[in-house]
């Protein structure tokens, strides 16, 4: 993140601003293991039936599961449906 990232983080904490906007971090929402919603992504790195890797500011988000499907994909958000088993950040 570097120095500016640290300042920003501190600022966000002091002013109680949402961190996903200030720090440009992904916001991930899961509904059970059926659906995962990733906001603020930086593109798809890999997409197969049982593994999806998404580039984000905090590293590569790796989603493992079965019958994964990209329900929706636009510049800011991705919605993935299917049977999700594992969500993991890889640096």
């Amino acid at each position: 993140m570097g120095e500016s990232g640290g300042i920003k983080k501190g600022l966000a904490e002091i002013l109680e601003l949402p961190k996903d906007i200030i720090l440009d971090l992904p916001k991930i929402i899961m509904i059970g293991n059926l659906q995962i919603y990733v906001e603020n992504h930086k593109g798809i790195l890999e997409y197969t039936d049982n593994r999806i890797r998404i580039n984000t500011k905090s590293g590569i988000l790796c989603i493992m599961g079965k019958n994964l499907m990209l329900k929706n994909i636009v510049i800011e958000e991705i919605i993935i449906v299917g049977e999700i088993n594992q969500v993991e950040f890889i640096d």
Partner: protein
């Protein structure tokens, strides 16, 4: 999400199949270029299926060129494609349009005539009259003037007091009200007698015109002259014919006899029952159970079911369930007081129906006689009523 689906359908979309090695890059480039992709599915290692809007599909060309992947259309879906197909088959559209028009046109004709409210006037007579006036099955509803028809029907059939014609869909509903004939009136200048309407004992005579020929206490029979229209002119010795009228009050008697057996056979269910099912197809009845009813005395209860019924239309299939309940006959002696009350009430009901509304009840008398186990009750009601009735004087008879 239904709204979204509907929106997509209206806008139109295609299901595409992308074949290539860098499919992730393809997706990323789509997102960067603001091409909306949804329901992206990985079919194989190098194959991907996705849905895309029509406009997005057109923009796809540049990406395809850059990446060198193959894109093929698998399905076209949505309203714009549907319109496109329809444009190719213009005749179909025209046919559907004319079919619809024809349907509307046909529904302006009257298919059936329904008549309600007539009791004495024959339905066929009214229908015949309507047919001659121009309302019959096959007439267009816009070619007849209902109000005019109503008036004409009223004029032509003087037994009707009111006619209302209403057209509901393809059905003409005609409601009629019949005239109730007024009592025949005798013209004021016609000479007449006042005669008795009923048998009775005269109580009071008020002769407003004419000569009273009976007195209080006289017993008169039906048809007897009460007030004569022939007035004797004493000094001259001649007579004059007048239109006599007046009120004659007389005591009249109404009688009714009713009977009731003092023993009664009552049927009591024993609890045994037999169910028979009958399938009825139109007029054919098929019994689904065999055998006779094994009981000596029984009560039948019928229930019927009509499957596949919608409003009044349906298949002429009926499933009838007959339940035979075994019964025992038990003799019951009825309390005499109860029987008397019953007989009295029934007899009185009968009498009260006969007594005119204006009459005054003076006295009632009840006699009971029990004979051979049957109770006979005779109820006599004495009433005071006006028995005057005018009748035209037949000249030449006297």
């Amino acid at each position: 999400m239904l709204v979204l689906k509907l929106w997509n359908y209206i806008r139109g979309y295609v299901v595409i199949r992308v074949q290539g090695l860098t499919l992730e890059k393809f997706i990323n480039m789509c997102t960067v270029r603001n091409i909306y992709l949804w329901d992206v599915k990985r079919v194989g290692n190098t194959v991907l299926e996705a849905k895309i809007g029509i406009k997005g599909f057109k923009d796809l060309r540049k990406i395809v060129k850059k990446l060198g992947c193959k894109v093929s259309i698998r399905k076209k879906q949505g309203y714009p494609f549907w319109i496109y197909k329809l444009k190719k088959r213009k005749m179909l559209l025209i046919g559907a349009f004319f079919c619809f028009l024809l349907l509307i046109f046909i529904s302006t004709f009257i298919f059936s005539i329904e008549i309600a409210g007539n009791e004495n006037v024959e339905t066929a007579e009214i229908v015949y009259k309507l047919n001659t006036l121009g309302l019959k099955p096959g007439t267009n509803r816009y070619f007849i003037n209902l109000r005019k028809l109503e008036n004409q029907l009223l004029l032509d059939m003087n037994r009707l007091a009111w006619v209302g014609i209403e057209i509901k869909g393809v059905k003409a509903k005609i409601e009629v009200v019949e005239k109730i004939a007024p009592p025949s009136r005798i013209d004021k200048n016609t000479p007449c007698n006042v005669v008795a309407k009923k048998n009775g004992v005269i109580e009071k005579i008020i002769a407003r015109n004419g000569d009273a020929v009976v007195e209080k206490g006289d017993i008169v029979k039906k048809g007897d002259i009460l007030i004569s229209g022939i007035v004797q002119l004493e000094p001259i010795g001649g007579s004059m014919l007048v239109h006599s009228y007046g009120d004659v009050y007389a005591k009249t008697y109404y009688e009714a006899t009713k009977s009731k057996g003092l023993t009664e056979i009552k049927k009591e269910k024993t609890g045994q029952k037999l169910v028979k099912r009958i399938l009825s197809l139109g007029s054919i009845e098929l019994s689904l159970n065999k055998g006779k009813v094994p009981y000596e005395f029984y009560i039948i209860e019928k229930k019927s079911k009509r499957p596949l019924q919608w409003r009044k239309i349906g298949l002429p299939v009926e499933l009838i369930t007959e339940e035979y309940y075994e019964v025992n006959k038990i003799k019951i002696t009825i309390d005499e007081m109860e029987a008397k009350n019953y007989v009295h009430k029934r007899a009185l009901d009968d009498i009260l129906e006969e007594i005119p509304f204006e009459a005054e009840i003076l006295n009632t008398q009840v006699d009971f006689v029990a004979k051979d186990g049957v109770l006979y009750g005779k109820v006599t009601v004495e009433v005071l009523e006006n028995i005057a009735e005018q009748r035209i004087l037949q000249i030449g008879e006297d």
